[in-house]
Amino acid sequence: MDVGIVYTIISIVVLIYLMTSVLYIIRLIKGPTVPDRILALDALSYDLSVFIALLALLLRRPIVASGLIALTLWIHALDIYVSKYIEAREIGE
């Protein structure tokens, strides 16, 4: 298989991911409640982490992918903090 085809497919997929992130952003802005927004942000950042990995492939710079895990972790922390705040009103309890 030609390597060129691989990069073509990956670039198309990257474009798809960019376009779906626009949809997520619409929900992020529109979202009527706080959990809605956080959910959209969540989906957006998981989208973004795949985007980073694909970009690392596409740019032929594997080291670009190092931001991926940190992003995932902090977004999860955001989830937990928001839900903790809504449920318990005090984080430390």
Partner: protein
């Protein structure tokens, strides 16, 4: 005067290509966004009465300055993608280091914003504590409301 200055730089420049123009367009867009981001964030800090909003705008302000530094360090390498300033493997000859210089972006702004980010975090922690304490004292984080509640001459004493 402007024309003079532009032509002074133009003598150093190579002929432009389509991709060059595209890169320049993208770069300009990002720079415009950055400059307006700084202005909006600064406006937020100076005019919002709520301390929490002030704090958020302050964080946005420092972060947009950091992003500005990333742009300063950026470079456009036609034909290849700019690479992070990291050697792939232990170089066996000086020529391998030279190849990195041809594609790498500027490492110094990245190192500087690393320092600036830590300082920003440190300041944020302290500001948050102060805002918490302010809330404990005044019962609100709105500076206008808090100042209304005070007796007028408390300041002068």
């Amino acid at each position: 005067m402007f024309l003079e200055r532009v032509s002074w730089r133009a003598s150093k420049r190579r002929p432009r290509y389509m991709s060059d123009l595209l890169a320049s367009l993208a770069f300009r867009t990002a720079m415009i966004a950055f400059v307006f981001n700084i202005a909006i964030a600064l406006y937020g800090v100076l005019s919002r009465p709520s301390l929490v909003k002030k704090f958020l705008c302050l964080v946005a302000f420092t972060d947009s300055i950091n992003i500005f530094a990333v742009f300063i360090g950026f470079r456009y390498t036609p034909g290849a993608y700019p690479s992070p300033p990291i050697l792939e493997a232990i170089p066996t000859s000086p020529a391998e280091v030279e190849t990195l210089i041809n594609t790498s972006v500027d490492p110094l702004p990245q190192a500087m914003i690393l320092t600036a980010i830590v300082i920003g975090i440190a300041c944020s922690i302290f500001l948050l504590t102060l805002i918490l304490m302010y809330y404990r004292h005044y019962g609100t984080t709105n500076i206008h409301e808090a100042e209304e509640g005070e007796e007028p001459h408390a300041e002068a004493l």
